[in-house]
Symmetry: D2
Subunit: 296 residues, 4 copies
């Protein structure tokens, strides 16, 4: 924390896999932090380490200069931000709300309007990176909204990430996140299909990985996923149900923008079938397990 | 060429985008080369540079110790190799046929049987790499077949490529190539969909490329493709009709192996629609053009 | 019109292909009708035939006992029903709003809540049938909402349709319509693919129709569509853009309900590509034209 | 059997669900029948009822004037027809081979060539209809090949079916069968998705069936399937693995003909996933069970 920001009081709403790690980095950065979460227990270790607990989102809003949200989906964001108990009701004019949740651009622009009516600037700043980078403060931030407000929040974002990319007006951060997660979900599905095909032909997973992960046809994040696949370790870095949700936001957005994404829509449904088969809380790499027929 | 191999006479059948460049590297390597192609003209510059021309595949077979084939699909391979005029009829016992074509493993094993009945060892050694690496001798070879025969051919392969990966018995080279091209075709389709979505939301192609091509979610080969997409330059490095053909081989193989590849099958059909719209001879990156609706 | 209902004043909002024909049947049935539409001209012939024109939806609401809506999508319904000028603002307590639009069940239940807060009963009563049955009063109504309110509206519905199927609480009419249009859009797509395959093999469209339209594998509505396909007559009975919209509602609903519909999602995207190629205002049968490659 | 055909000796190869019932109708029709099957036991009841057993396909060929085949796929047909023990080796010149198997047109034309080289006329006459119509002699035959040869076989076909549709040269019967099974497989998949969606919204299977099976949007064969779905009775009338196989033939044919069938290709993969999950020997209606997530 640079001098001059000392007074900036920070709120954090949404303490799941990502949010809890991001919030911790704000504490480590020296910020006075107030937190809220749908279930109180998830806040316990942060509170033990000095964070304040707000009973309601509104209480949190009233106590801080900037609110970060890291929530599951648009409905969860609406639930925390709006209504009589929402933090928008509590926030003072001139404060900033940074929504790091993955939401669609249309929704984000609607929220920006709602925030504006309370005199609050919404920034849509979703992240690239999962559990590991969230913990180590190496997220990449994709920022939409007023540039000046983004700059004011930069020191806070620097605590949690390694890079901040400014993309334009409200919704542009969310837009780029749609693009990134379309690629992420597609690459995972393609790799799952590739492994399954190769194995069926007698190639070992190990050999396939050796060959393809070194060629330019494979997305580099797969180098990290592959060992987990080999171990059938589907502990969630990025839960499959979130990927399904994100691809649904992608599909909704494509519809609204009058573009068509045939492959992405099928992939979305395969994640859906995998979720239905009980893999929703596994890592999204478990699409491999599903397509392998290796399910109960 | 190492001493001791001086006497090795080499044949090359199939002088398209890839084959012509590979054959040239054999000439540059000092080998005595005989060539054949469905249409004679494509052999002209190689012949001018010292290659011999064989009127029929059989004649070619009779003149050489090893035959390389780089052909469009299984039907083209059958046409050159078998029948009364096929090179198998001409080849002496103990010679080697190296098939660099992308074919499915089942077909490759059938051809190995056919070759064996003529006393010829077939190696399935398809390549990773397109026009550029073919010209510069930087292909990667994925080899299936008898290891000893592969070793005998290594000096020749070293003229044309930078790496040789031995994968096992007949069909295993072809198998790995299926895996690689599944990934290649899927990644291109996903990137096309990602760009189209992003643009529809007001993000420039340039900005999307800047952000995603540096993240681990994008396959590295896309860094080379992107500038061509921006310029609408679809000059074929790897023609779209070949990608459609390869994904059909993937789908056929998956069926035979009793595995299912839902995303790959849809992507195959989108390449098919693109081909039908007149983009078959464009680079496979033109799937982006097709999905953009930017077709006549 | 039965005696006793004489006093029932009826409003109709949305005078497109379907609504204009339905409204005319209410006039023919002897009802005093007030109409409103986004563009005034579409009301001209109805007004010439005795319908009243309301300048705003609210004015319409204030003048009637029951409002029918037949609108393009949830956004259009929201636009007419809610807000300061919406008809809910005008409607008296105890009146009924019959929404015949194809909307998703979740939206319909939200609207029912909004209506309830004005003391109005919403019925979701979408229709089965396109332009022809709308004109001849042979629609089938799929009704959700309070049964007693449905019964009160039955004489009006009898003017416009041949059958009324009561399905349960709010949202159940909309739910069944999702089911019906999933089948409709899928069957049209399958028939398009079947014709294209058959033709490519040398079977005439005529012969295919002769054989398959008489077997139990083809949905009977295709008997009506086939002659139009043969004539390349894509005058809209049910515009392709509506089918795309309806399948998007289906996909959204499936997501919310945690079920997966892989085929439907792909088909949705193919309608989307067709729309993008300029076929949005053609009949949805034009998916055949699109898949044929017969587009500009 | 009409007088004049008394001397026609008939062979039947392939005594599965369909073939055994068809063969029985030939016995009932008074024909002298010789049978062969991969596994002998399936012939036992027919032999008990008077059919002769041939130890090899070649023996069968030598004993008859016309051979019917009803086999699983192209590989099975090749296995019985060709090679030293194949029935083509046994058949006299001027005899007829009627292939009722579902195979692709390209394969059928190849077989016609092989038959011709033995002086045998091949007719491709696949059937519309499953177990029930096969038993009751109510199949519909789709005939390709020389018309005169078809006419010679008509009395035999009349024993087994209710209708014979002549479609043209070799391959045209197979072509129409591709069209029919594309529609069949698609309609079943669409109905499965429709039921699953409807149920998720609280509509009962019974209510959905009541409404949609009476509308023109549902293929009539679904009226027969629905009660079985309700009872979770997946005893095979048409095994799911055959549907997957047929759709693979459709996809192969579409590729060869340079047409694209996106929905059919996805549906094929869903049947494939269902087969992989253990439903291959269930009726193809079990795609509903698979998509419901109701699998082990």
């Amino acid at each position: 924390m640079l001098s001059g920001e000392e007074a900036m009081k920070v709120g954090f709403v949404g303490l799941g896999i990502m949010g809890s790690r991001m919030a911790r980095n704000l504490i480590s950065g020296g910020y006075e932090l107030t937190v809220h979460n749908r279930t109180r227990e998830k806040a316990d270790t942060l509170v033990a380490d000095g964070a304040g607990w707000a009973e309601t989102p509104k209480d949190l809003g009233a106590a801080v200069d900037v609110v970060f949200t890291m929530l599951a989906d648009p409905a969860a964001v609406t639930g925390m931000a709006t209504g009589g108990d929402g933090f928008l009701e509590g926030l003072k004019k001139g404060t900033v709300w940074v929504d790091c949740s993955t939401v669609d651009p249309d929704f984000s622009r609607q929220m920006a309007q709602a925030a504006k009516s309370h005199g609050v600037d919404l920034l849509d700043i979703p992240v690239v990176g999962t559990k590991g980078p969230a913990a180590s403060g190496e997220l990449v931030f994709l920022a939409g909204g007023k540039r000046e407000a983004v700059e004011r929040c930069r020191p806070l974002l620097d605590c949690m990430g390694k890079e901040l990319i400014y993309l334009g007006d409200n919704g542009q951060g969310a837009a780029m996140k749609m693009v990134v997660n379309l690629l992420l979900g597609s690459a995972m599905s393609a790799y799952a299909e590739a492994l399954i095909l190769g194995q069926s032909l007698g190639l070992s997973n190990k050999k396939i990985a050796e060959v393809v992960l070194d060629t330019p046809v494979a997305a580099p994040f797969l180098r990290g996923k592959h060992p987990l696949l080999e171990q059938k370790n589907y502990q969630p870095h990025f839960p499959l149900r979130w990927m399904r949700k994100d691809l649904q936001l992608v599909a909704k957005t494509a519809y609204e923008q009058n573009v068509s994404l045939p492959a992405t829509n099928v992939i979305k449904e395969i994640y859906g079938l995998a979720q239905r088969s009980g893999l929703g809380d596994s890592d999204f790499a478990a699409i491999y397990q599903y397509l392998s027929g290796d399910v109960k």
